[in-house]
């Protein structure tokens, strides 16, 4: 079982990079959805006031 720790850390790094990226894009998507709904409300308000 020589080098088992290298094998473990290599797979851990691979999965961490993939899941880390997925976490970041999921967070970005939540932020964008919030921003879009706020912008839609702003536009609707301005449209009515025009």
């Amino acid at each position: 079982m020589e080098n088992l720790s290298w094998l473990f850390w290599a797979y851990a790094a691979g999965w961490l990079l993939i899941f880390g990226y997925l976490f970041l894009i999921a967070r970005k998507e939540r932020g964008l959805r919030k921003k879009i709904s706020e912008l839609e409300e702003t536009i609707e308000e301005r449209w009515k006031r025009r």
């Binding site: 290298w6 993939i18 990226y21 997925l22 894009i25 970005k28 839609e40 609707e44």
Partner: protein, 241 residues
């Protein structure tokens, strides 16, 4: 007023069954790697990094081609959907490229005794990753009206670099091992190793497609947010006039 985020964007980025299939494939792949496949005689257990390292490179190259073809289609049609696809694919090139290089380094250290060497394969892989990272830096900095075109050109250059990376350990003597498939006399893998490798590639491609679909939807949302911001400013200007 039309809603910018249509119903399509509220649906899952990929079908649930597809995500379940990708997750199942990755679990089966882990079983094959850690339980089923025999241990390689010379390098021992650490050689099992190979079954994730090579599929990550396969996904990286596939993403380069998908991004490059989407960039060409964007230049021909000027359809923003292709630009979104290209952006999504290029970002996954960086992610899977980083996975490939990080795992390669962790394999190199116990076997070669060094983390890194500037041989043809490693250097060309690093340059490919660097080129796509540069794409991600250039994109937000480029002027909006020319952004798609500039990015498409960078992306096509990246795609053109892939054959060079692939052929580097065939064309030059490298520290990196010769290819195990089509690498000439003495190359090849045991049948169990070959099956595990191919299954790994299949599983990783399924996973990549899920990641790509999610990123593509985020790219559409980014475009919708930019359009809405512009519209809000236009209405503001009209009101002031």
């Amino acid at each position: 007023m039309d809603r910018m985020v249509n119903e399509f964007d509220d649906k899952p980025a990929f079908p649930l069954w597809f995500g379940a299939l990708a997750a199942l494939a990755m679990l089966v792949h882990l079983y094959l790697v850690f339980v089923w496949v025999p241990t390689e005689a010379t390098m021992g257990i650490v050689q099992r990094i190979f079954y994730f390292h090579v599929p990550a490179a396969t996904v990286q190259f596939t993403a380069c081609f998908v991004g490059g073809i989407a960039a060409i289609l964007y230049l021909v049609t000027r359809d923003n959907r292709y630009d979104d696809l290209s952006l999504a694919a290029n970002e996954t090139v960086v992610v899977f490229g980083a996975v490939n290089i990080a795992m390669g380094m962790m394999w190199a250290k116990p076997i070669w005794g060094i983390w890194w060497t500037w041989d043809a394969r490693l250097t060309s892989s690093f340059l490919l990753l660097f080129l796509y990272a540069a794409y991600l830096v250039i994109r937000p900095a480029a002027p909006v009206e020319a952004r798609g075109t500039i990015c498409a050109v960078v992306c096509i250059l990246g795609m053109a670099d892939v054959p060079l990376v692939y052929m580097s350990n065939r064309l030059f003597r490298t520290q990196h091992p010769s290819p195990v498939m089509g690498g000439g006399q003495g190359s090849g893998l045991a049948p169990e190793m070959m099956k595990t490798l191919f299954f790994g590639m299949f599983a990783m491609l399924l996973l990549w497609w899920c990641v790509l679909s999610v990123r593509r939807r985020v790219a559409r949302l980014e475009r919708a947010a930019a359009d809405l911001t512009r519209r809000a400013h236009e209405l503001d200007d009209l009101r002031r006039d």
